[in-house]
Amino acid sequence: MDKIVLTIDNKRISCPPGTSILQAATQNDIKIPHLCYHPDLKPFGACRLCLVEDEQSGRLMASCVTPVAPDMTIQTDTPRIISHRRNIVRLMIAEHPESCIVCSKGNRCQLRWVAAQMGIGETNLYAMPNYKPLEQANPFIIRDLSKCILCGKCIRADHELVAVGAIDYNSRGFASRPATVHEQGLEQSNCTFCGTCVSLCPTGALSAKNSRYVGSPAEESFSICGFCGVGCSLAMGQSANKVIDVNPAHLTESVNKATLCVRGHFAHDFLNSRRRIIAPMMPKKGEGETLQMTPVAWDEALDQVAERLRHIRDESGPQSIAFVGSSKCSNEENYLFQKIARVLIGTNNVDNGGYVSGQFLSTILDQKTGGGCRPSPVSDLEKADVIVVLGADPNHSLPVVSYYLKRIAKNGVPLIVVDPRKTELVSFASLWLPVKPQTDLELINALAALLHETNAYDSEFIDHYAEGFSLFTYALSSLDVDKVCRMTGLEMKDLNATTALLEEKRLAFVIGHGILQQRYGTHTLGAILNLSLMTGSLGAEGAGIYILARENNQSGAMDMGTVPNLLPGRMPLAEDSARKTWEKNWGVKISPDPGLNLGRVIKAAESGQIKALYIMGENPLRSLPQPQRVKAALANLDFFVVQDILDSEIVKLADVVLPGAAASEKSGSFTNLEGRIQGFSPVVSPPGKAKPDWEILDLLAKRLGAAEAYGTVEKIREEIRHLVPAYADMNGRGPGWVKTSSPMAVFGAAGAREKISFSPVVSTADEPADSDYPFTAILGSLRYHLGSGTRTSASDRIREFDYGGEVDISVADADKLKLKDGDAVRIETRWGEIKRKIGRSNRIEPGQLFVPLAVNANDAMNLIDLNDLADPNTTGWKTCAAKITKV
């Protein structure tokens, strides 16, 4: 389209039609003051601070809501404008209370900044402060609406960016203020405490509550959130080497832009927890001859680790040693970690905490698609025809992904939510399929069969890029749809409505732990891939399969080979060529012995087969089922090293404790769920004698016989970049992307010819009901905690919020059992029991319970059995048969 040419402050400017004057000026480095405008929000024109003058007509107009017109001549800074602007600010100040000096917004207050810029101190106006009571019943956000200037940023953020709808304008005129429904405190509303409104509020009306610190940070630095797989960009404020404030970094290219979630915004308190480990420790005899954890020097601790590991390897062989790396540590650290295991010790017994989330299931996708099916930017979902969310509750697990999904659904892209529970996403969905737990596989197969029946699939795509279709459709034809309805609890009309939405569409799948941790996870992913092939949904933007990584570097740890069956770059250990490549890279022989995964390591420790274990940044006592059994297994080890940041039960069992550092205290990079590799540098230094984890590993490697120390993160990065083609893009600064190279024709690489084969159609059997345990307990995460909750539980504000993890029960069942909200109950399964309070809920079907994870030291893991999630016959970790009694 033709560009529009206009003049702003005597500068000729051209820009596309529809641009506002403010945007046009900003793009050309002309600064116009503004308070209610924000590039990510719809313009609102409330504050009038952005006034400019049209030279021809002499009209004053708000530049944020006025589009450019041809040949306009705009002045932004005439005495007339300045005097108007001053008056506007004076009026705002006149209505403002006098607590500027002690305002918790501190230097982030834009009103104060604007007033200072204009030299407005005293207003000489009749002060008419608008007193409203201070609201601070929750530990996260203080609302002092007497300081509200009605810019509407909070409301627009809440509606347009995070799509929660907790607040809106209430009343008119002088009394008008943003309010929750029924004008209650935020904690009584559906507010998620994402804090997005707080970061955007230009005054002290909304500010972060900080119990430990009042004032402004000395400095703000860039970092990456270390909680979930979204990998939000952060601006961390520090003072006296402590992180005291977190806001979204707001970079145009970041995944989160102006948003965050409650964890990123408020849960970084764990950094300053008194439970941080600040020195290396070893059990030593104290008074009365009892062993006590005693601080030791780094040299002593590391020498001990090296000596004992070498000794055990010489005595019992390398396979008696296991390593568990971290889905929270950086790529560089994970690379080094598995290299120590494979090269210096000689074992493939190396895994990471991503095991707990079922991350390894994505191997099936890698295998089938030759590694081509890696996730793409979440923002591509905007281009989707239809989005199918399966077994995922991103509102809680990966909140920023849910913001995307809700915004996209509001813009009209059909969203299908497949979940036993009526999650918050359901209100945005075109269709909700409340399948019974673990029956997603049946549903997906049935949808494929129905699409086949109506010929509503992409036969051209299948001809070009897939093979085995006739065998696949033959298997589909024997599918018993009545049985599918019976098993899933859906009706034929639900299935028909779904197929109608899917017909001739390309699909994007968003997959969560409901699939990855369930009983038939692998088969379900296979079926999803089948459906993707059938509908031509691979190799195109806005289509394909998104695996929601629960933890920040779950995907990266796998890429770095910190898993038993893959070498760096996800090269299969079982393939001779892959081993040869890495034998050449590292100049050693690599054992073809498939190593043990985390689940198996614990069982091998139980039986005495594993004698030494080195754990970095994971706490299997909290994250694995049957904690008592895990504890006994760990106690059975000859030698146990724990490298971590927080004191915990597991630390008490260790023979050597090495204090590591959190992301904000070191350099490194994380790979998020999209395959975005994001580098970061330290904001503060590690507490006490703690060291960055890569440095600890580097020092240890030297002692275990590495020829040369790396010395810097950049050196490690260089090696990864050089040896792992997928990570050629990795740098220490801005984002890079994981590169895929697949031999499959659909991904379009030059010369790629291969076709993707359909996976066999697997049918499951009806589950007999267990009359002793009539309920199905579903385990899942809630937004206040991440994973097993080690870090979030050490965060002051999350603790203060005191979220109890009430078990959801349907109103019908609660009535039957005469349970009121808040009644204490015992939940029992064949494996163990826990006590919780109950919450009556209409988000859950009768016969089901929802048990939130992470609270009470993640006691919910007592309910399930320590079966190997990677075993094809696993019963899964997602659900279990349970009974409930009032106590």
Partner: protein, 159 residues
């Protein structure tokens, strides 16, 4: 004496909501109908309305509180609106209001405990030539004097 607000006819409210469900721009007519029928919009209905109209509950509340025509509290059988506009002010509107407050023992915006009367003020009733004025439900009363106010009120108190 009836000390409780009028019973809410929830069946009717559900019907009204059902009727407007999902209709574009249907929120205001829906609210009007509920207000008309129940005399106010029960706060407990906000979530139901929001769900039916696919809006956030806070948005629905925002609309209700924005328009003076909608109320979230039950009002009396008779809503008295005393004019506070300029013309009425000049002609002694203030003393009319004060007298009403005294006679009914209500402050502005309050409803009597028997839900007979609600006292409100408005900016201008648009009948300035009759100043000072007031309205009771849909009826106008002009050229008010203390005696006239007392007699009108007396009438309604008897009803």
């Amino acid at each position: 004496m009836n000390m409780k607000p009028p019973e809410i006819d929830w069946d009717r409210i559900h019907e009204i909501i059902e009727k407007h469900k999902g209709v574009k721009w249907g929120l205001i007519p829906l609210l009007q109908e509920v207000q008309e029928h129940t005399g106010y919009i029960p706060p407990e209905s906000i979530e139901l309305i929001a769900e039916a109209m696919n809006l956030y509950p806070s948005e629905v509340q925002g609309v209700i509180t924005f328009y003076a025509g909608f109320a979230l509290k039950p009002k009396g059988k008779y809503v008295l609106r005393v004019c506070r506009g300029t013309a009425c002010h000049v002609k002694g509107g203030r003393s009319v209001l004060r007298l009403m407050q005294k006679e009914l023992n209500l402050k502005e915006g309050e409803t009597s405990s028997d839900y007979q009367f609600t006292l409100e003020t408005v900016a201008c009733l648009g009948a300035c030539f009759l100043a000072p004025t007031m309205m009771i439900n849909r009826d106008y009363f002009g050229k008010l004097s203390p005696t006239k106010v007392s007699s009108v009120l007396g009438e309604y108190q008897k009803k």
